[in-house]
């Protein structure tokens, strides 16, 4: 079995998938596997190869199955790939099922005692004596469970020809500052690597070859990117409630705020962060803080938005600003809390009872998570309304490579706020008077001195002077103006991004579907079907969206929910084109992949 492996120079076969493969790691959650998987991902990234990771984890703290998929792609495709070339099976509970589902020809690294090699003849098996190796490399028995996973990182690195120095570097990075943990984990990875070197034949199935595609890139998740956007946007009040997959957005913000949001003169905090008793109270804090002039935010997921909807309607009607991050997960109800979906489209578009319309931002990558989070605060204050920034678990919690974020040098837009002097000079000021014809009125902030500008905010019927009114004409004036305000937003929200291959056939998607759509577009083009792709980035729909819908013969609306919610919004907005919209759907909780898009569009085309 033993072969000498001069890794990087091993001759590669014609069929070798160089920098183009997926690895799936099956472990038990709470066993430290997330660290090991991130190290493997990072080491490949450091080899200059585009890489993306998807963690498929249970709603549980320890003991349940979890899978992590690492995809390397020379072409830069970062969507989840439906097939895997290598499996690393560490979980006895799922191993047989994992084998049954494996793609023919896959390399299977597994824990030797599991004895999986008789199950199927069309796989290549690599049994590894993990327990023996961890016992030899790690002196502390109580750490064996956590360190065991680092052994497979070494084995995989060897088989893939990943430079061991990059693995060590990745461990150092991942465990920043914890010298002892770094030492123990590096020893385990080396033990795995050395064992593979001595005991395994080389393989030419999949390989990593050093490239330069990732120079200067960062690895980040969407929640952190959004947190950074909020940090630079100068958020001053945060009311939140823990919920998967949104908690890490505020938690990451808290870490950064500790460091970067203290008044240098006094050491006191320039942001108030309060963990509230529920999402409803969080929404109240956000809107009241916005009403009082602060930049405010919360982060939540679908169940939280449901609870908040009472306040969202109030915010819309009294015109109070606030930024609401919805890191969507699989619904309805509790649904699958740790799985992804884009199933809050209609909820966020029209959250709350009565006639409501909300500005929604749909970032599709890490730079946009950062930028849109920053912009959301400007939009909230400009439009004096709740703004939803809608991401999902896939964007929010998975690792993505990205260009470093550009500094948002544009000064804040604090919107139409009258100060003491302006209020004194204003003639016949009314809180809800549309002076400029754009539907956006001038507001005053509580506490403004001078005896002018005080008014009474109410969620009940009111007139242009914020007085209680049940008169039909007063009511209609306000709600029609709110509609006008929403129209104005069309020229302020992010415009769509196009990837046109020259076609009358359109593909429309948003958010985390982007990488899979790009890959699907390329596959379809190779198969002879060119498409033009519009990536929607906001509600309301802008003029560019109108034109696209007008131009195309057909618009395939790709989205991650069962009911085609975004397609429904399009049919409602463009009833004259309603038959053009065909839904391409993916909603099983896993991140969307290119193949499902290709298959569905192909099926439509063959009809």
């Amino acid at each position: 079995m033993t072969a000498s492996l001069a890794a990087p120079s091993t001759p590669l076969g014609a069929k070798t998938r160089i920098n183009d493969f997926s690895i799936q790691v099956a472990t038990v959650n709470g066993s430290g596997s997330q660290t090991a998987n991130t190290v493997l991902l990072r080491a490949i990234f450091q080899m200059g190869v585009f890489v993306s990771g998807k963690n498929l984890f249970p709603s549980n703290i320890a003991g349940l199955p979890t899978w992590f998929t690492i995809r390397a792609s020379a072409k830069g495709y970062v969507a989840r790939k439906a097939s895997n070339e290598m499996l690393i099976l560490m979980n006895a509970e799922t191993a047989k099922e994992d084998i049954a589902k494996a793609d023919a020809g896959a390399l299977v690294i597994y824990d030797e005692p599991l004895q999986l090699d008789k199950l199927r003849a069309d796989l290549s098996y690599i049994p590894v004596p993990f327990q023996k190796l961890v016992t030899a490399s790690c002196p502390e028995p109580k750490l064996h469970k956590l360190v065991k996973n680092m052994i497979y990182v070494g084995v995989a690195a060897r088989l893939l020809s990943v430079d061991m120095e990059e693995v060590k570097k990745a461990i150092t990075k991942q465990l920043k500052g914890k010298a002892k943990a770094i030492e123990i984990n590096q020893a385990a990875a080396v033990a795995g690597y050395d064992w593979a070197m001595e005991n395994l034949e080389d393989q030419d199935h999949i390989k990593v070859v050093r490239d330069n595609k990732t120079n200067g890139l960062i690895i980040v998740d969407g929640n952190e990117a959004c947190a950074l956007g909020a940090l630079f946007a100068g958020v001053t009040v945060v009311g939140w409630y823990p919920i998967t997959p949104a908690s890490s957005l505020v938690e990451t913000f808290i870490e950064y705020a500790e460091e970067y949001r203290k008044d240098p003169a006094t050491g006191k905090s320039t942001v108030a962060i309060v963990q509230m008793e529920d999402e409803l109270a969080s929404a109240g804090v956000v809107l009241a803080a916005g009403w009082a002039g602060a930049r405010s935010m919360t982060s939540t997921a679908g169940p939280g938005v449901s609870l908040m909807s009472e306040f969202i309607g109030l915010g819309y009607y009294v015109e109070a600003p606030g930024v609401f991050f919805n890191v969507a997960r699989t619904g309805p109800s509790t649904g699958l809390p740790t799985r992804t979906q884009q199933s809050d489209v209609e909820l966020c578009a029209k959250c709350s009872h009565g006639d409501t319309q909300h500005i929604n931002l749909y970032p599709g990558n890490m730079e946009e998570c950062f930028q849109f989070a920053y912009d959301a605060f400007d939009l909230a204050e400009r439009f004096q309304t709740p703004i939803f920034v809608v991401t999902d678990l896939d964007l929010g919690m998975q690792n993505w490579s990205s260009k470093p974020f550009a500094y948002p040098s544009k000064p804040y837009d604090r919107g139409k706020v009258l100060n003491q002097q302006q209020l004194a000079e204003a003639k016949d000021w009314g809180r809800y008077k549309d002076v400029d014809g754009d539907g956006i009125c001038y507001r005053s902030l509580p506490g403004t001195a001078g005896g002018k500008g005080s008014y009474f905010t109410r969620g009940s019927g009111h007139n242009a002077y914020a007085q209680y009114s049940e008169k039909p004409e007063d009511y209609v004036e306000v709600v029609d103006r709110l509609r006008r305000k929403y129209e104005t937003a069309k020229t302020h929200v992010p415009t769509p991004v196009f990837r046109n291959l020259g076609s009358v056939k359109g593909v429309l998607a948003f958010g985390s579907s982007d990488p899979a759509v790009i890959e699907a577009q390329d596959i379809l083009a190779e198969e002879g079907l060119k498409t033009d792709y519009l990536r929607l980035r906001a509600l309301p729909f802008t003029a560019e969206v109108d034109a696209f819908v007008e131009e195309k013969q057909v618009v395939y609306v790709v989205e991650q929910n069962r009911d085609g919610q975004m397609a429904n919004l399009f049919r409602e907005t463009y009833p004259q084109h309603a038959t053009k919209f065909k839904s391409v759907l993916h909603y099983n909780g896993h991140a969307i992949d290119a193949k499902c898009i290709v298959d569905q569009i192909t099926a439509f085309e063959q009809k």
Partner: protein, 345 residues
Amino acid sequence: MTTATPSAPTNKLGFTKQDYVGSKSTLCAGCGHDAITAQIINAAFESNIEGHLVTKYSGIGCSSKTPAYFINQGWGFNSVHGRMPAIATGASLANRKLINIGVSGDGDSMSIGMGQFVHAVRRNIPMIYIIEDNGVYGLTKGQFSATADKGSFLKSGAKNDLPPVDPCTLAIELGCGFVARCFSGNPKQLNAILKAAFAYEGTVVLDIISPCVTFNNHDASTRSYKHVKDHDFPLHDLGFIQYSEVEEVDIAAGATEVVTFPDGSKVAIKAIHEGYDPTDRFGAMKAIHESMAKGEFLTGLLYINPTQPPLPQVLNLVDEPLATLPEALVKPGPAVLEEIMQALM
């Protein structure tokens, strides 16, 4: 600054009492809530409150309409049912200079809004939290609320078989440092307590028994004017002395206790109910429970502990309002982003 006749008396800020009024009340004639509104106006005038710093929050219900009836110079926010505490929390964090008054009812705070009440009190939000307590849902025409006494009757004859929630013992249990019960029919006591409340830094819980003349003022009600008057047991005579007004000391004759606030203001207490010490938390709980068992309303300052830090202090916030901090203070520079990006590479 004054808008009333030149002869009207002014306070230290030069305002007349007229400067503290609001719009005309639309509540039923004789409503206890209007008597409370009148004392808020008096107390704010006498306490030299800066009207433009006042924010008035409410939820939904008859009580929640009342912020429109006082201090027009301030900013009002009539929000949604039971959610006033979250509104007060957000605004008070955004601008810690604001003087926050929340007006709620027994339905708004003890039923639908119980959760928010509990947590606002726990957090010691800087606000005067007034519960205008009539034991009934007035605005929806007379259903029981959660403070209705067991065995009491509705006008329709329906009997309440469930025990009441008591906002005062609940607030003390939650760590509130200023808990009082008043009767809307005792303006003198209410005035003294409201003035002390304006000087207090954290959450003040005032449960004010305020009879509903339309739906809960009949003979079988335990919240009627007559019933409350007959069962009101004032604990003490109170005198409040604002720090800046030391020369106008009005300590009740025979004061047995003086409680000093961090700003130097003082509450002088002359006990009527023998042996009642409002600084003794467990003693207060015991006395309130005993009186409730007898069907009495102990009124007055039930519990006071002026040393608890309010939320903005706990969060170590800057002294200036967060809402108006300059961009330079809240937006980190390019070097910070560069440093963060390097760490993510």
